[in-house]
């Protein structure tokens, strides 16, 4: 009798077992499809499960392994936020507008993962067109948090956060324009990286605000994000923002010691700009203690106020999102969710002078942030002031005025990741955000990995 497939595996663990021929990609895929069937009705993480395609790909991966091929993603089942185009597979952006949209080709990122041997399990829930909040007036319900299904996953990569946390997929792709990878990573207790803009191609990812959009990995651990980034990163001449820089070695470099690293604590962010709950304050104190124990030099750091970054980010997002959707808003307004309309329609009223002022101010904020990295290797803060809120507390008109720390990294064009650094007394995960200077994605992953391990949070899964 074959041993059962473990319920929870990281990409690194599964990759090792598959390479040693102790785990069959077909058996792993079957186990995950079964788990999706059992668990997902209470989570709504998947909009579409591509079971037959997944099994076909798993059989191909198994053949390749038996033929001697190797690779860290060969035979690894993953899933994609439903704004990633997938050839022949419906891609809706969780919207009635694209209900029948079947792309002819894969997003560049999807192609890269498939070339590396990853297996697509299906398409994941998002906020409509990656903006807004949970909506009940769309063809699919919003995703729910596996740690407590009454709670919000965070967004907009809501299905990606829920699926990875619940062990329905070993990894996922998300997108991040103002925090959409890192917010669900924080609320769902997983790891998520918003890479440096230009490192990962956005070709074939339905855009929200091209000035700020980034595509990136989400997984149970920082190490798994590094494995995914090794496949995802690389120049794509067809994405005008893609930059030809040396890439790779993210997973390989993750164990290098962080002793002597200069860690800046963005204390004003969570004590003043977006005041944190007592439990988040405790998590920050614990994380600082762990960094000290690992030999890092800790000091308070200062950046311009969160509200400065937020104002710039939200003016750019509203303007660009409105411009992209204007024609459809004119003809199919009522087919969009109310929360989408509230977030995007204001873009119709923003003057060109204000949009350009936001872009000019962004240049200053990029420079001010880069200046801070002359004194520090990484900057840390909580991405959100508290653990996951109740879904019922989410209001469609909420959000513009509330300061959002994650938007700082989008506006500043730096890499940023969230890892699980602790739990509340009621067992909800708490995330820590780590920002690095542009192109230091490997360093951010390394710091995230070592903090995650020191905090000992990766052995605890949702009940």
């Amino acid at each position: 009798m074959k041993p059962p497939v473990p319920t929870y595996l990281t990409i690194a663990e599964a990759g090792r077992l598959i390479a040693q021929k102790k785990l069959s990609p077909v058996e792993l895929t079957k186990a995950l499809l079964k788990r999706i069937e059992t668990v997902d009705p209470s989570l709504n993480a998947f909009l579409l499960v591509t079971g037959q395609k997944a099994l076909t790909a798993a059989r191909s991966a198994e053949k390749a392994i038996m033929a001697g091929q190797k690779g860290p993603l060969l035979g690894i089942p993953v899933a994609y936020k439903d704004i990633y185009e997938t050839a022949g597979v419906r891609t809706t952006a969780h919207s009635r507008i694209l209900l029948d949209n079947v792309p002819k080709q894969d997003a560049e990122t999807v192609r890269r993962l498939h070339d590396a041997g990853a297996i697509m399990l299906g398409k994941l829930a998002t906020h409509e067109f990656a903006i807004g909040g949970p909506a009940t007036d769309l063809p699919w319900p919003p995703a729910r948090n596996p740690w407590d299904t009454r709670r919000f996953t965070g967004g907009s990569s809501s299905g990606s956060g829920a699926a990875v946390a619940a062990g329905l997929a070993l990894g996922a792709l998300g997108s991040d324009t103002g925090g959409s990878i890192r917010l669900p990573a924080a609320f769902c207790g997983i790891a998520g990286l918003k890479p440096t803009p230009g490192l990962v191609s956005r070709r074939g990812v339905i855009p929200l605000a091209p000035s700020l959009d980034t595509a990136g990995p989400m997984a149970w651990t920082a190490e798994d994000c590094a494995i995914l980034l090794d496949a995802l990163a690389g120049h794509d001449p067809a994405d005008p923002a893609s930059v030809a820089v040396p890439v790779g070695g993210y997973a390989k470099g993750i164990e290098a010691p962080i002793k002597g690293l200069r860690v800046g604590v963005l204390r004003r962010f969570f004590e003043h700009d977006a005041p944190a709950s007592p439990e988040v304050m405790r998590m920050m104190a614990d994380s600082i203690r762990l960094f000290r124990a690992m030999g890092c030099k800790i000091e308070d750091a200062a950046l311009p106020p969160v509200q400065d970054y937020n104002g710039v980010g939200r003016v750019i997002i509203s303007s660009e999102a409105y411009a992209l959707h204007e024609a459809t808003l004119r003809t199919r307004l009522s087919d969009y969710s109310r929360v989408f309309r509230i977030r995007v329609l204001a873009g119709a009223l923003i003057r060109a002078a204000d949009y350009i002022a936001a872009q000019r101010r962004r240049t200053d904020l990029i420079a001010a942030t880069a200046e801070a990295f002359k004194r520090f290797d990484v900057l840390i803060c909580p991405p959100v002031p508290d653990a996951a809120p109740l879904l019922a507390e989410q209001r469609p008109d909420d959000g513009f005025a509330r300061p959002l720390i994650t938007t700082v990294a989008n506006v500043a064009a730096v890499p940023s990741m969230v890892v699980c650094a602790g739990f509340t007394t009621t067992g909800l995960p708490l995330g820590l955000e780590i920002m690095g200077p542009a192109w230091a994605d490997g360093l951010v992953l390394r710091v995230g990995h070592q903090l995650e391990r020191a905090a000992g949070t990766r052995d605890r899964r949702p009940a």
Partner: protein, 130 residues
């Protein structure tokens, strides 16, 4: 020359919003106008608070990127290339395999948003499994 101090974003009445909305080609019902008034007040607050103290000379141009010269460039241009450039090692980058034949700026664009449809959407239960 420093920019003049920013003017706070003006408060717009629902009637004025209606005019701007019409100018944008949108048709909103009263509830949608009310939502927009609320959203606009929040955005207007952010615009009003935005720091604009920046020298006018700080922005020389908007950023754009020209495509690289084509391989059919005049032979004379090839001969003019300095020898030392040829010795520079190529950057170690992973090219996008499917993009090799595509010139910059010719990326496959995301789907055009679909035209209006009369039929009701599929039920979530039907749409969910494929």
């Amino acid at each position: 020359m420093a920019s003049p101090p920013p003017a706070s974003a003006p408060i717009i009445s629902p009637a004025e919003i209606q005019i701007l909305v019409s100018r944008a080609g949108l048709v909103l019902n009263p509830g949608q106008v009310a939502d927009l008034v609320l959203a606009w007040r929040q955005v207007a607050g952010l615009i009003g608070a935005m720091n604009r103290e920046r020298r006018i000379a700080d922005d020389m141009a908007l950023v754009f990127r020209l495509p690289p010269p084509t391989t059919t460039a005049p032979a004379v241009a090839k001969r003019a290339a300095p020898a030392k450039q040829a010795k520079e090692p190529p950057p170690q980058v992973k090219p996008a395999a499917t993009a090799r034949s595509q010139p910059a700026g010719k990326a496959k664009t995301p789907p055009r948003l679909a035209p209006a449809k009369q039929s009701a959407p599929k039920s979530p239960a039907k749409a969910r499994r494929r």
